[in-house]
Protein backbone atom coordinates (compact mmCIF):
# COMPACT_ATOMS: atom_id res chain seq x y z
CA UNK A 1 0.00 0.00 0.00
CA UNK A 2 2.81 2.35 0.89
CA UNK A 3 4.52 1.66 -2.40
CA UNK A 4 1.34 2.47 -4.28
CA UNK A 5 1.17 5.78 -2.46
CA UNK A 6 4.81 6.52 -3.33
CA UNK A 7 4.06 5.78 -6.99
CA UNK A 8 1.05 8.08 -6.86
CA UNK A 9 2.95 10.94 -5.24
CA UNK A 10 5.97 10.58 -7.52
CA UNK A 11 3.82 10.88 -10.64
CA UNK A 12 1.66 13.56 -9.09
CA UNK A 13 4.77 15.69 -8.67
CA UNK A 14 5.83 15.08 -12.24
CA UNK A 15 2.38 16.04 -13.47
CA UNK A 16 2.54 19.18 -11.36
CA UNK A 17 5.97 20.37 -12.39
CA UNK A 18 5.95 19.96 -16.14
CA UNK A 19 4.52 22.65 -18.31
CA UNK A 20 4.42 21.85 -22.00
CA UNK A 21 2.94 18.38 -22.12
CA UNK A 22 4.04 14.78 -22.14
CA UNK A 23 7.06 15.08 -24.39
CA UNK A 24 8.49 17.69 -22.04
CA UNK A 25 7.77 15.28 -19.18
CA UNK A 26 9.83 12.38 -20.55
CA UNK A 27 13.25 13.75 -19.50
CA UNK A 28 11.89 14.42 -16.01
CA UNK A 29 10.39 10.91 -15.81
CA UNK A 30 13.73 9.49 -16.92
CA UNK A 31 15.66 11.48 -14.31
CA UNK A 32 13.27 10.64 -11.48
CA UNK A 33 12.65 6.98 -12.26
CA UNK A 34 16.16 5.92 -13.32
CA UNK A 35 18.55 8.23 -11.48
CA UNK A 36 16.70 9.12 -8.29
CA UNK A 37 14.42 6.17 -7.58
CA UNK A 38 16.21 3.41 -9.47
CA UNK A 39 12.88 1.84 -10.41
CA UNK A 40 13.97 1.13 -13.98
CA UNK A 41 17.36 0.52 -15.58
CA UNK A 42 18.49 2.70 -18.47
CA UNK A 43 17.46 -0.12 -20.76
CA UNK A 44 14.04 -0.46 -19.16
CA UNK A 45 13.57 3.28 -19.57
CA UNK A 46 14.43 3.09 -23.27
CA UNK A 47 11.69 0.47 -23.68
CA UNK A 48 9.30 2.60 -21.66
CA UNK A 49 9.92 5.67 -23.83
CA UNK A 50 9.65 3.67 -27.05
CA UNK A 51 6.30 2.18 -25.98
CA UNK A 52 5.01 5.53 -24.70
CA UNK A 53 5.80 7.30 -27.95
CA UNK A 54 4.73 4.63 -30.39
CA UNK A 55 1.33 3.85 -28.87
CA UNK A 56 -1.56 6.26 -29.30
CA UNK A 57 -2.86 8.19 -26.34
CA UNK A 58 -1.45 10.50 -23.74
CA UNK A 59 2.32 10.04 -23.63
CA UNK A 60 2.56 10.89 -19.93
CA UNK A 61 -0.15 8.35 -19.05
CA UNK A 62 1.50 5.73 -21.24
CA UNK A 63 4.78 6.23 -19.38
CA UNK A 64 3.07 6.29 -15.96
CA UNK A 65 1.21 3.06 -16.75
CA UNK A 66 4.42 1.40 -17.89
CA UNK A 67 6.43 2.36 -14.81
CA UNK A 68 3.54 1.64 -12.42
CA UNK A 69 2.91 -1.80 -13.90
CA UNK A 70 6.60 -2.69 -13.74
CA UNK A 71 6.72 -1.71 -10.07
CA UNK A 72 3.44 -2.95 -8.63
CA UNK A 73 1.39 -4.58 -11.38
CA UNK A 74 -2.07 -3.43 -12.30
CA UNK A 75 -2.65 -1.48 -9.07
CA UNK A 76 0.67 0.29 -9.55
CA UNK A 77 -0.29 1.27 -13.09
CA UNK A 78 -3.55 2.76 -11.79
CA UNK A 79 -1.85 4.66 -8.97
CA UNK A 80 0.81 6.17 -11.26
CA UNK A 81 -1.71 7.12 -13.95
CA UNK A 82 -4.07 8.81 -11.50
CA UNK A 83 -1.08 10.62 -10.02
CA UNK A 84 0.02 12.07 -13.34
CA UNK A 85 -3.52 13.12 -14.36
CA UNK A 86 -4.71 14.70 -11.12
CA UNK A 87 -2.67 17.95 -11.05
CA UNK A 88 -3.76 19.07 -14.49
CA UNK A 89 -7.34 18.03 -13.77
CA UNK A 90 -7.54 20.14 -10.61
CA UNK A 91 -5.63 23.10 -12.01
CA UNK A 92 -7.68 23.37 -15.21
CA UNK A 93 -10.96 23.37 -13.25
CA UNK A 94 -9.59 26.05 -10.91
CA UNK A 95 -8.37 28.10 -13.89
CA UNK A 96 -11.74 27.94 -15.64
CA UNK A 97 -13.54 28.97 -12.44
CA UNK A 98 -11.02 31.76 -11.87
CA UNK A 99 -11.29 33.10 -15.42
CA UNK A 100 -15.07 32.94 -15.09
CA UNK A 101 -15.06 35.10 -11.97
CA UNK A 102 -12.61 37.62 -13.44
CA UNK A 103 -14.92 38.04 -16.42
CA UNK A 104 -13.99 39.93 -19.57
CA UNK A 105 -10.82 41.80 -18.80
CA UNK A 106 -8.50 43.60 -21.20
CA UNK A 107 -5.29 42.50 -19.54
CA UNK A 108 -6.33 38.86 -19.44
CA UNK A 109 -7.43 38.96 -23.07
CA UNK A 110 -4.20 40.68 -24.07
CA UNK A 111 -2.15 38.11 -22.16
CA UNK A 112 -4.07 35.31 -23.93
CA UNK A 113 -3.33 36.93 -27.29
CA UNK A 114 0.37 36.97 -26.48
CA UNK A 115 0.35 33.40 -25.19
CA UNK A 116 -1.46 32.19 -28.31
CA UNK A 117 1.06 33.92 -30.59
CA UNK A 118 3.84 32.22 -28.61
CA UNK A 119 2.00 28.87 -28.66
CA UNK A 120 1.66 29.08 -32.41
CA UNK A 121 5.38 29.75 -32.85
CA UNK A 122 6.34 26.98 -30.43
CA UNK A 123 4.08 24.49 -32.19
CA UNK A 124 5.49 25.43 -35.60
CA UNK A 125 8.95 24.80 -34.21
CA UNK A 126 7.81 21.52 -32.63
CA UNK A 127 6.50 20.38 -36.03
CA UNK A 128 9.81 21.31 -37.64
CA UNK A 129 11.93 19.51 -35.04
CA UNK A 130 9.67 16.47 -34.98
CA UNK A 131 9.69 16.42 -38.79
CA UNK A 132 13.48 16.45 -39.01
CA UNK A 133 13.54 13.50 -36.65
CA UNK A 134 10.91 11.25 -38.19
CA UNK A 135 10.68 12.14 -41.89
CA UNK A 136 13.02 10.01 -43.92
CA UNK A 137 12.73 10.22 -47.67
CA UNK A 138 10.10 11.35 -50.14
CA UNK A 139 7.13 9.23 -49.01
CA UNK A 140 7.47 10.77 -45.55
CA UNK A 141 7.51 14.30 -46.93
CA UNK A 142 4.45 13.52 -49.03
CA UNK A 143 2.52 12.03 -46.08
CA UNK A 144 3.36 15.02 -43.87
CA UNK A 145 2.41 17.66 -46.46
CA UNK A 146 -0.73 15.82 -47.53
CA UNK A 147 -1.81 15.43 -43.88
CA UNK A 148 -1.33 19.12 -43.23
CA UNK A 149 -3.19 20.20 -46.36
CA UNK A 150 -6.05 17.77 -45.77
CA UNK A 151 -6.67 18.84 -42.18
CA UNK A 152 -5.79 22.54 -42.30
CA UNK A 153 -7.23 23.53 -45.69
CA UNK A 154 -9.89 20.94 -46.43
CA UNK A 155 -11.10 20.23 -42.90
CA UNK A 156 -10.79 16.47 -43.35
CA UNK A 157 -10.95 14.51 -40.10
CA UNK A 158 -7.57 14.15 -38.43
CA UNK A 159 -8.22 10.41 -38.19
CA UNK A 160 -7.62 9.98 -41.94
CA UNK A 161 -3.97 11.08 -42.01
CA UNK A 162 -3.28 8.52 -39.28
CA UNK A 163 -5.04 5.74 -41.21
CA UNK A 164 -3.52 6.80 -44.55
CA UNK A 165 -0.02 7.16 -43.06
CA UNK A 166 -0.24 3.81 -41.28
CA UNK A 167 -1.51 2.02 -44.38
CA UNK A 168 1.16 3.52 -46.66
CA UNK A 169 3.86 2.70 -44.13
CA UNK A 170 2.62 -0.87 -44.01
CA UNK A 171 2.51 -1.22 -47.80
CA UNK A 172 5.90 0.41 -48.37
CA UNK A 173 7.40 -1.92 -45.82
CA UNK A 174 6.10 -4.91 -47.75
CA UNK A 175 7.40 -3.55 -51.05
CA UNK A 176 11.00 -3.57 -49.84
Amino acid sequence: MKELFVLFITFFKMGLFTIGGGLAMLPLIQHTIVDKKGWLTEEGMTDCIAVSQSLPGVIAINAATYVGKTRKGFAGALAASFGVILPSFIIIICAVIFLGTVGPNHYVEGAFTGIKAAACGLIVFAAYRHGRQVIKGKPGIFIAVASFAAVAFFGISAIWPIIFGGASGFLLRRAK
Partner: protein, 189 residues
Amino acid sequence: MVLLNLYVMFFSIGIFGFGGGYAMLPLIFQRVQEFGQMSAQEFSDLVALSQVTPGPVSVNAATYVGYNYAGVPGAVAATLGIATPSFVLVIVVMSFMDKYYKSKGIQGVMNGIKPATVGLIASAAFYIGQTVMVNSQVLPVSTFAGIIEYLNVLPFIMFICTIILIAKFKVNPIIITLLMGIIGALLCG
Protein backbone atom coordinates in the same frame (compact mmCIF):
# COMPACT_ATOMS: atom_id res chain seq x y z
CA MET B 1 -26.13 10.58 -21.54
CA VAL B 2 -23.91 13.65 -21.95
CA LEU B 3 -21.38 11.98 -19.68
CA LEU B 4 -21.34 8.82 -21.76
CA ASN B 5 -20.95 10.87 -24.94
CA LEU B 6 -18.05 12.79 -23.45
CA TYR B 7 -16.39 9.57 -22.36
CA VAL B 8 -16.80 7.95 -25.79
CA MET B 9 -15.66 11.05 -27.66
CA PHE B 10 -12.44 11.39 -25.68
CA PHE B 11 -11.90 7.64 -25.78
CA SER B 12 -11.87 7.82 -29.59
CA ILE B 13 -9.48 10.79 -29.47
CA GLY B 14 -7.19 8.72 -27.24
CA ILE B 15 -7.23 5.80 -29.67
CA PHE B 16 -6.33 7.86 -32.72
CA GLY B 17 -4.10 10.27 -30.86
CA PHE B 18 -0.66 9.32 -32.06
CA GLY B 19 2.34 11.57 -31.61
CA GLY B 20 1.46 13.33 -28.36
CA GLY B 21 -0.55 16.35 -27.31
CA TYR B 22 0.07 18.79 -30.14
CA ALA B 23 -0.67 16.18 -32.80
CA MET B 24 -3.93 15.39 -30.98
CA LEU B 25 -5.16 18.99 -31.02
CA PRO B 26 -6.73 19.02 -34.52
CA LEU B 27 -8.61 15.83 -33.69
CA ILE B 28 -9.83 17.25 -30.38
CA PHE B 29 -11.02 20.39 -32.13
CA GLN B 30 -12.87 18.47 -34.85
CA ARG B 31 -14.51 15.96 -32.55
CA VAL B 32 -15.65 18.60 -30.10
CA GLN B 33 -17.17 20.57 -32.97
CA GLU B 34 -19.17 17.51 -34.02
CA PHE B 35 -20.31 17.06 -30.45
CA GLY B 36 -21.51 20.58 -29.89
CA GLN B 37 -20.30 24.08 -30.30
CA MET B 38 -16.67 24.89 -29.96
CA SER B 39 -15.53 27.98 -31.79
CA ALA B 40 -12.00 28.29 -33.12
CA GLN B 41 -11.64 31.09 -30.59
CA GLU B 42 -12.56 28.85 -27.68
CA PHE B 43 -10.22 26.20 -28.99
CA SER B 44 -7.30 28.61 -29.03
CA ASP B 45 -8.21 29.77 -25.51
CA LEU B 46 -7.93 26.16 -24.44
CA VAL B 47 -4.51 25.79 -26.07
CA ALA B 48 -3.32 29.02 -24.47
CA LEU B 49 -4.49 27.80 -21.07
CA SER B 50 -2.70 24.48 -21.61
CA GLN B 51 0.52 26.32 -22.37
CA VAL B 52 0.63 27.95 -18.95
CA THR B 53 -0.77 25.14 -16.81
CA PRO B 54 1.07 21.96 -15.92
CA GLY B 55 0.31 18.48 -17.18
CA PRO B 56 -0.36 16.76 -20.48
CA VAL B 57 -2.03 19.03 -23.06
CA SER B 58 -4.62 16.41 -23.97
CA VAL B 59 -5.65 15.88 -20.34
CA ASN B 60 -5.95 19.64 -19.96
CA ALA B 61 -8.15 19.68 -23.05
CA ALA B 62 -10.36 16.82 -21.85
CA THR B 63 -10.84 18.42 -18.45
CA TYR B 64 -11.59 21.82 -20.00
CA VAL B 65 -14.13 20.55 -22.52
CA GLY B 66 -15.75 18.13 -20.07
CA TYR B 67 -16.08 20.80 -17.41
CA ASN B 68 -17.58 23.32 -19.80
CA TYR B 69 -20.21 20.84 -20.96
CA ALA B 70 -21.16 19.12 -17.73
CA GLY B 71 -19.27 20.49 -14.74
CA VAL B 72 -17.03 18.30 -12.60
CA PRO B 73 -18.74 15.00 -13.60
CA GLY B 74 -18.19 15.95 -17.24
CA ALA B 75 -14.52 16.70 -16.57
CA VAL B 76 -14.16 13.30 -14.90
CA ALA B 77 -15.88 11.48 -17.77
CA ALA B 78 -13.82 13.19 -20.48
CA THR B 79 -10.53 12.74 -18.65
CA LEU B 80 -11.18 9.06 -17.95
CA GLY B 81 -12.13 8.72 -21.61
CA ILE B 82 -8.83 10.03 -22.88
CA ALA B 83 -6.86 8.06 -20.29
CA THR B 84 -8.47 4.65 -20.88
CA PRO B 85 -6.94 3.78 -24.29
CA SER B 86 -3.45 4.73 -23.07
CA PHE B 87 -3.81 2.67 -19.98
CA VAL B 88 -5.25 -0.43 -21.62
CA LEU B 89 -2.92 -0.41 -24.65
CA VAL B 90 0.23 -0.08 -22.56
CA ILE B 91 -0.87 -2.93 -20.28
CA VAL B 92 -1.63 -5.13 -23.30
CA VAL B 93 1.54 -4.30 -25.23
CA MET B 94 3.75 -4.86 -22.18
CA SER B 95 2.71 -8.48 -22.07
CA PHE B 96 4.03 -9.17 -25.55
CA MET B 97 6.77 -6.58 -25.90
CA ASP B 98 9.17 -8.61 -28.00
CA LYS B 99 6.62 -9.65 -30.56
CA TYR B 100 5.44 -6.05 -30.79
CA TYR B 101 8.88 -4.74 -31.58
CA LYS B 102 9.98 -7.44 -33.97
CA SER B 103 6.83 -7.21 -36.08
CA LYS B 104 7.82 -5.68 -39.42
CA GLY B 105 4.17 -4.79 -40.04
CA ILE B 106 3.89 -2.71 -36.87
CA GLN B 107 7.20 -1.00 -37.59
CA GLY B 108 5.98 -0.16 -41.08
CA VAL B 109 2.70 1.25 -39.80
CA MET B 110 4.56 3.37 -37.26
CA ASN B 111 6.98 4.68 -39.89
CA GLY B 112 4.01 5.89 -41.90
CA ILE B 113 2.11 7.37 -38.96
CA LYS B 114 5.03 9.45 -37.71
CA PRO B 115 5.19 11.78 -40.75
CA ALA B 116 1.40 12.13 -40.58
CA THR B 117 1.70 13.43 -37.00
CA VAL B 118 4.10 16.12 -38.28
CA GLY B 119 1.34 17.34 -40.59
CA LEU B 120 -1.16 17.23 -37.72
CA ILE B 121 1.09 19.29 -35.45
CA ALA B 122 1.46 21.85 -38.24
CA SER B 123 -2.35 21.90 -38.60
CA ALA B 124 -2.69 22.69 -34.89
CA ALA B 125 -0.37 25.68 -35.38
CA PHE B 126 -2.44 26.73 -38.41
CA TYR B 127 -5.73 26.67 -36.45
CA ILE B 128 -4.33 28.62 -33.52
CA GLY B 129 -2.43 31.07 -35.72
CA GLN B 130 -5.63 32.00 -37.53
CA THR B 131 -7.52 32.83 -34.37
CA VAL B 132 -4.85 35.17 -33.10
CA MET B 133 -3.14 36.56 -36.17
CA VAL B 134 -6.04 36.93 -38.57
CA ASN B 135 -8.53 39.65 -37.79
CA SER B 136 -11.59 38.29 -39.54
CA GLN B 137 -14.94 36.98 -38.40
CA VAL B 138 -14.89 34.41 -41.16
CA LEU B 139 -12.43 31.65 -40.31
CA PRO B 140 -10.59 30.02 -41.87
CA VAL B 141 -9.32 32.61 -44.30
CA SER B 142 -7.88 30.37 -46.95
CA THR B 143 -6.42 32.70 -49.55
CA PHE B 144 -3.04 34.28 -49.15
CA ALA B 145 -4.33 37.73 -50.08
CA GLY B 146 -7.06 37.37 -47.44
CA ILE B 147 -4.50 36.55 -44.79
CA ILE B 148 -2.43 39.63 -45.67
CA GLU B 149 -5.51 41.86 -45.66
CA TYR B 150 -6.68 40.74 -42.23
CA LEU B 151 -3.27 40.28 -40.60
CA ASN B 152 -2.98 41.30 -36.94
CA VAL B 153 0.47 42.84 -36.98
CA LEU B 154 1.41 42.74 -33.31
CA PRO B 155 0.62 39.04 -32.66
CA PHE B 156 2.33 38.23 -35.96
CA ILE B 157 5.51 39.95 -34.77
CA MET B 158 5.29 38.03 -31.47
CA PHE B 159 4.85 34.81 -33.41
CA ILE B 160 7.98 35.52 -35.48
CA CYS B 161 9.92 36.54 -32.36
CA THR B 162 8.91 33.27 -30.67
CA ILE B 163 10.29 31.23 -33.55
CA ILE B 164 13.55 33.21 -33.52
CA LEU B 165 13.90 32.89 -29.74
CA ILE B 166 13.35 29.14 -29.69
CA ALA B 167 15.09 28.14 -32.92
CA LYS B 168 18.08 30.46 -32.81
CA PHE B 169 18.60 31.28 -29.14
CA LYS B 170 17.16 28.11 -27.59
CA VAL B 171 15.27 30.09 -24.95
CA ASN B 172 13.15 27.96 -22.58
CA PRO B 173 9.61 27.71 -24.03
CA ILE B 174 7.99 28.57 -20.69
CA ILE B 175 10.02 31.80 -20.46
CA ILE B 176 8.98 32.71 -24.01
CA THR B 177 5.32 31.98 -23.25
CA LEU B 178 5.33 34.10 -20.09
CA LEU B 179 7.21 36.91 -21.86
CA MET B 180 4.71 37.04 -24.72
CA GLY B 181 1.86 36.85 -22.21
CA ILE B 182 3.18 39.92 -20.40
CA ILE B 183 3.81 41.82 -23.64
CA GLY B 184 0.33 40.87 -24.79
CA ALA B 185 -1.27 42.06 -21.52
CA LEU B 186 0.45 45.43 -21.87
CA LEU B 187 0.04 46.01 -25.61
CA CYS B 188 -2.87 43.94 -26.91
CA GLY B 189 -5.47 44.45 -24.18
